[in-house]
């Protein structure tokens, strides 16, 4: 057993993109190996939950937890890793604010399961329906129970730091690893508990080089089917770009490439409800006072939940289990 500080990473309800993003830091991953003893990382190495359970409480220095809390297994591991870790980081959008899996909070669990097993897109000729437990000759086996709604990590356990992004940008991950290494070497100090790390403090607009004027919106448009001015703010061209409300840190990748920001870095510092902020921001600059015309303009946003709450639904005030404003950044 090495005496290096211990590192863990876990995926709950997530897609795996966060793990890829960590590996995508290229040779920096060697720093992780050089400075840490990786004790638990299901995607990268074999490990058993019972091994983690056997560890001393607080013995893992740093745990990057990605994924939302969708079932009782996720919740169990979240609580387990909380207990075992000194620093628990909500890593990536799912753990921070629910992300795409959180959109399932619009439907009851029953509907979700039925959609997965019994709709036309599923080849299920025998009508198999999952059961929580099953008695076999060898004994009873169980699969995790789906919780009524997906929760963010900090709706289940206490979280030390928040690292947003879907996934977090590799250069930000590298910077955070650097920081932790420096802290270990006594060259830097940790930010205050509850801070957002690996991201900026303002919005995507701050990093976006597009030209901006006083805004008015006459219609909402898609990025295809019209000529996009490569220099001008997308929102001014009617492209519903979420950059105005989204935390900076990604170097405005999407808007720079000509695609609207969809908000994966979550709310800006101090914003309690991302979707509500964005809605009031958009609504404020709609250039009409005629209710019918406004309705027509708003028809340009066919999927408001997807537009305003794609990443944030589980963490929003709408679906917050605890008052979200106290734990901003979640």
């Amino acid at each position: 057993m090495s005496d290096k500080p211990k590192f863990a990473m876990y995926w709950a309800a997530s897609c795996g993109g966060c793990e890829i993003a960590v590996l995508n830091i290229h040779e920096k991953i060697l720093d992780v190996d050089a400075n840490f003893d990786v004790v638990f990382w299901p995607v990268a190495m074999d490990a058993k939950y019972k091994d983690v359970e056997a560890m001393e409480d607080g013995s893992i220095l740093l745990t990057l937890f990605n994924g939302g809390i969708r079932n009782d297994e996720n919740a169990h591991i979240a609580k387990l890793l909380r207990r075992k870790s000194k620093l628990l980081v909500a890593f990536g959008s799912c753990a921070n604010e629910g992300c795409i899996p959180g959109l399932a909070n619009l439907s009851p669990v029953e509907d979700i399961v039925n959609t997965a097993f019994h709709t036309i897109s599923t080849d299920n000729p025998n009508g198999i329906h999952p059961q929580i437990s099953y008695k076999m000759p060898e004994g009873e086996i169980r699969i995790p129970t789906i919780l009524p709604r997906l929760k963010t990590l900090d709706q289940v356990v206490d979280v030390d730091y928040y690292m947003p992004g879907c996934p977090p940008e590799s250069h930000q991950i590298a910077a955070v690893i650097d920081l932790v290494v420096q802290v270990l070497q006594g060259k830097a100090e940790l930010p205050p508990k509850g801070a957002v790390i690996g991201a900026g403090n303002s919005t995507v607009c701050d990093e976006c080089q597009r030209k901006r004027n006083v805004k008015t919106i006459n219609s909402f448009n898609r990025i295809f089917g019209q000529a996009i001015d490569p220099e001008l703010c997308l929102l001014e061209q009617g492209i519903p770009c979420n950059g105005i409300a989204t935390r900076s840190g990604c170097n405005a990748r999407c808007p720079t490439a000509g695609a609207q920001c969809i908000g994966c870095y979550g709310p800006a510092e101090g914003v309690v409800d991302y979707g509500a902020r964005l809605i009031s921001g958009f609504a404020s600059v709609i250039n009409s006072k005629d209710p019918k015309e406004i309705d027509t303009i708003l028809d340009g946003i066919p999927d408001p939940t997807g537009q305003f709450y794609r990443f944030n639904l589980a963490g929003s005030l709408l679906k917050a289990g605890a008052p979200a404003w106290k734990k901003n950044g979640g």
Binding site: G243, I244, S248, S280, W325
Partner: protein
């Protein structure tokens, strides 16, 4: 930890009659102590000096850092309790007033529920006050000039009082002359003074006053700024007459070939020309051109006025354009008056269909010596004197179909008409009334006098005025069908002339005007005073005052009194020289602002500017009125409103929802 003192007011029985004040007090002490409440008291009248001293004493002796008073609405006593806290050495803005009167006791009858609601409201206040910050009011200087909008008697009075006190006034009037409705009247009740005789000297004073800039034929198009520092844009409509050279000799309108029915001053009873001065005593004396009827503007030829104008250089100028003046003023008085009810809307009274049905304004013109008949009361044919006249009260007033309110002046106006008819024609007069309302000084005496003069009074609402003959003696007459509710008989009263004593309505454009000046008006359009009893001439917008019928129907003395009252208020403001503005202001946190420019075009006070170099927006604190539009719009949460921060609002919501309070304290 903050030390919060909570004070629950009984307001006599106003609150305590419905809300169990002691229960609220004890509940707060018990359940909100974790949120900083160290003292919870109740008192009969918190606003009394003893109540205020209670707070002051606790601040000094207990070292309170925050105060929450559960009493009436902040409109009424927020300032009272802030001052009390200030006297005890606390920053006044550390005090929060929550309303358990307007929002609980006055609007509920269920005592248990009202008490629970009061707890929730109070809990919201306690949670909110924790996030209050010490604020200092902003001082701005007050521009000493005043704008009076509307040149009727109320506006004239206000303008003269301020000008006489030595301060400059801009008096804006939409019509070509000041004078308003009063200039159209013949006599005033109950003294029967000649209206023109008492009004015109004041009009002349206005016209010649060195401190008054008279802007007739002008309208306000835009109002920017705030108390002490308004900028009002006035559109001076082109009159096509150069007032610098015009002498008001009258040759132009004498020679003008175009006759136009005068629907404004003469109430349709007389004619004027396309270029006209509404009446001989008009102030100013200069005529204006009505481009809608002028032959030159219609056909491109005529210019008779120009040809005959004797002045050198010629005073007629067809090239004149509308002028827009930006006028800085410190205070604004609105005295835009009323519209008379249009009785076309009551078809059964036959106005417009039956020639000898007159409106009250038409009758005023008939009586007036300068009017179309030279003061002779004649039927529409202009020859016949009526032998029997019926006067119908409450036309368009006290009627759910039109205006529910009483127009305040119609009874006295109708009595005046009855007297004038009687005096000038000897005709028999019937007054049809619902109730006689004569509350003013010497008003009821006037009514008694009318009774002695032999006027017939019929108590009943007129059903119909018709020329259909049903009984002998009705041929060639107007028949007034009415139930005499004192005898229970249906009457058919044949008359030669019917006068409809029409009610007073808000100006047709009252709502737009209210919006322009940023004040509120009632659903029908009367402008809303700051307090119906104690502050009848101020509005909820600082620096904007209302006088006369714009606030509601009233007679001349009341209008004059209000005009003078607004002047006193404005003079008081001017004398202060500077004014403390509420420190509730929005500000941009520069490091959070990304310069997305969402807010840039939203500010109704133009307080937001954008720094192109730094790519951030900034709010001018002196211009900001704390409306919160930009705070709500800022998608980055970079704009915050003092007194209404996210923390404050969300904590208050949590408090209202009784979150983070032990479960057994939360009512089922």
């Amino acid at each position: 930890m903050e030390k919060i003192g909570v004070y629950v007011c009984h307001c006599g029985t106003n609150i305590a009659g419905v809300v169990n004040v002691e229960e609220v007090r004890d509940w707060t002490a018990k359940n909100l102590k974790d949120h900083g409440v160290v003292i919870s008291r109740d008192y009969k009248f918190m606003c009394s000096s003893l109540g205020q001293e209670l707070i002051e004493q606790d601040i000094k002796e207990q070292g309170l850092t925050r105060v929450v008073v559960a009493a009436c609405s902040p409109h009424l006593h927020e300032a009272t309790f802030r001052k009390a806290c200030g006297r005890a050495g606390m920053n006044p803005y550390m005090c929060e007033l929550v309303s358990i009167r307007e929002q609980a006791s006055w609007v509920h009858t269920d005592k248990v529920a009202a008490t629970q609601k009061s707890k929730a409201i109070l809990s919201g206040g306690v949670r909110r006050v924790e996030y209050h910050t010490a604020l200092e009011p902003l001082k701005v200087s007050i521009h000493p000039d005043t704008m009076v909008v509307g040149g009727g008697i109320a506006g004239i009075q206000a303008a003269l009082e301020i000008a006489d006190a030595g301060f400059h006034v801009y008096l804006v009037e939409r019509e070509p002359s000041i004078g308003g409705h009063m200039a159209q009247f013949d006599k005033t009740f109950p003294t029967l003074d000649c209206s023109a005789c008492i009004l015109t000297p004041k009009m002349v004073d206005v016209g010649s006053h060195p401190n008054i800039t008279l802007l007739t034929w002008s309208e306000v198009t835009k109002v920017d700024g705030y108390v002490g520092n308004f900028t009002v844009t006035v559109k001076k409509k082109a009159s096509y007459v150069n007032n610098d050279t015009c002498t008001g000799c009258g040759i132009c309108w004498e020679k003008c070939p175009k006759k136009v029915v005068d629907n404004v001053y003469e109430a349709g009873m007389g004619i004027r020309k396309a270029i006209y001065r509404p009446f001989p005593q008009a102030v100013p004396k200069y005529p204006v051109m009505d481009v809608d009827t002028c032959i030159y503007f219609e056909k491109g030829t005529c210019k008779a006025c120009e040809k005959f104008c004797p002045t050198e250089p010629n005073s007629i100028n067809f090239e004149q354009k509308d002028e827009f003046l930006d006028i800085p003023v410190g205070n604004i008085i609105l005295a835009t008056g009323y519209d008379a009810f249009d009785p076309h809307r009551i078809p059964q009274y036959g106005y417009g269909r039956l020639p000898n049905v007159f409106t009250s304004l038409e009758f005023e013109r008939l009586c007036n010596a300068a009017g179309p008949t030279g003061g002779n009361i004649l039927l529409r044919d202009g020859k016949t004197a009526p032998k029997v006249v019926g006067i119908v009260h409450c036309v368009g007033s006290r009627d759910k179909n039109y205006n529910e309110g009483c127009s305040a002046i119609c009874c006295m106006q109708s009595l005046k008409f009855a007297h004038l008819v009687h005096e000038r024609t000897g005709a028999e007069v019937y007054n049809f009334y619902i109730d006689i309302r004569t509350p003013g000084k010497s008003y009821d005496e006037f009514y008694q006098r009318l009774l002695e003069e032999g006027t017939h009074f019929v108590r009943g609402k007129v059903a119909e005025i018709s020329d259909a003959v049903r009984l002998p003696g009705e041929e060639g007459k107007l028949v007034i069908q009415v139930e005499d509710t004192l005898t229970g008989n249906q009457l058919r009263v044949p008359v030669d002339m019917a006068i409809l004593s029409v009610g007073l309505e808000p100006r047709a454009d009252a709502k737009e005007v209210a919006k322009l000046f940023g004040i509120s008006c009632s659903a029908n359009g009367w402008f809303t005073e700051r307090h119906p009893k104690l502050d009848p001439v101020a509005t909820m917008t600082d620096g904007i005052y209302i006088a006369g019928c714009v606030q509601g129907p009233k007679d001349i003395p009341a209008s004059v009194a209000q005009g003078a009252a607004t002047a006193a208020r404005v003079l008081g403001k001017i004398q202060q020289k500077e004014i403390a503005l509420e420190p509730v202001r929005a500000s941009v946190l520069e490091e959070k602002c990304s310069g997305c420019r969402i807010c840039n075009d939203l500010c109704p006070f133009n307080a937001i500017l954008f720094h192109e170099d730094k790519m951030v927006s900034e709010i001018n604190a002196a211009l900001c009125q704390g409306c919160g539009t930009c705070v709500a719009a800022c998608p980055a949460g970079a704009i915050s409103g003092t007194g209404f921060s996210n923390e404050q609002v969300l904590a208050q919501i949590e408090g209202l929802l009784l979150l983070n309070i032990s479960e057994d304290a939360v009512p089922a």
